[in-house]
Symmetry: C2
Subunit: 194 residues, 2 copies
């Protein structure tokens, strides 16, 4: 397996056109963390002091609703940052949980380190700007899809965007993400195959 920090560096560097300096000194202040399938990276109600970079695995970000049902906000997987961003930035309790759907490995970046990197480096400011932009664009796209597309179109977009994840995420979670019942999703997939 590739060194986690190498994977991290490659992913970060791929998004920007300037070299990241002092890489070794920076990653010395990070740690890796293994999370078993089913375990939580962040639980709703907890404060958030860290950002994570997913080296291996998949996470679901979900709200637990008052009636006991769940709403899946998004999935995160290899080479993506994952955290409860609003809670991190505004120091409030996370409104949603983040759970591993596979045995996963993340790199842990403390809020303090992230703030220091942004303060001292133009390049890290750019990295964060691009990551937050990605977060926002993901949400804008999802909003648009919910408002303008039917379930079949949303599913087709999902498999186009995440061709690999379709086989790694249990089908009932994909249904939850698409806002339909597992039964409807099974029916829809059967129809698409015919």
């Amino acid at each position: 397996m590739i060194n986690p920090y190498e994977a991290f560096k490659n992913a970060v560097q791929a998004n920007i056109d300037k070299p990241i300096e002092n890489w070794d000194r920076i990653t010395e202040q990070m740690a890796t963390l293994s999370i078993k399938k089913g375990d939580y990276l962040i639980r709703a109600g907890n404060t958030v002091e860290e950002v994570y970079f997913c080296v291996k695995g998949i996470f679901r970000l979900f709200y637990l609703l008052e009636d006991g049902s769940e709403f899946i906000k998004s999935f995160c997987y290899e080479n993506e940052f994952v955290t409860s961003y609003g809670a991190l930035v505004n120091s409030f309790e996370s409104p949603f949980s983040i759970q591993a759907l596979e045995d996963s490995i993340v790199i842990v970046i403390s809020k303090g380190l992230l703030e220091e990197l942004i303060r001292n480096s133009r390049v890290w400011e750019m990295v964060v700007r691009k990551e937050v932009e990605k977060l926002y664009l993901k949400k804008e796209k999802r909003e648009m899809e919910f408002l303008n597309l039917n379930a079949t179109e949303r599913y087709n977009n999902f498999i186009k965007e995440y061709p690999e994840l379709v086989y790694r995420i249990p089908q009932y979670y994909i249904a939850s993400y698409l806002g339909i019942s597992p039964v409807s999703l099974s029916r829809l997939i059967k129809e698409l195959k015919n």
Copy 2:
């Protein structure tokens, strides 16, 4: 009335702790635009080549749905940036429209100028990072409210967050934003007054 560019400078500078340089040279490349109440800043289906800064007025950002109904994504008003951000960044057609709810004045910043500012200035990179962060946090908050709060709680949050807008925006638009019918909102407001 305050000079539009002064208002712009003050609002931008208030969010960052570093001075913005060459302000006059930069604003020379911008323009102001007056928009009549009811007119459109951006129409769904159009490409987007500009970011706007609202000096005066209010805008609603909304989706027109297939059944002819509308979904209000958000409101923007004085001292906020407004555009169809995903369309601007990814050069696709805007999925939603932006319409003035009052006679309004905006400062026009071309995509080219914005990109140049980010490329050449650390401070502008920070400005954009913070603005995109605001956009994202607004969306995360709205998602949380829709999932966890009832209509009364959402209305109370709205008037707490936008105390001034409540009197400037027609009530049926506020109802649309809150995801309830105008009748339900009237009833709710009457109950709150009792």
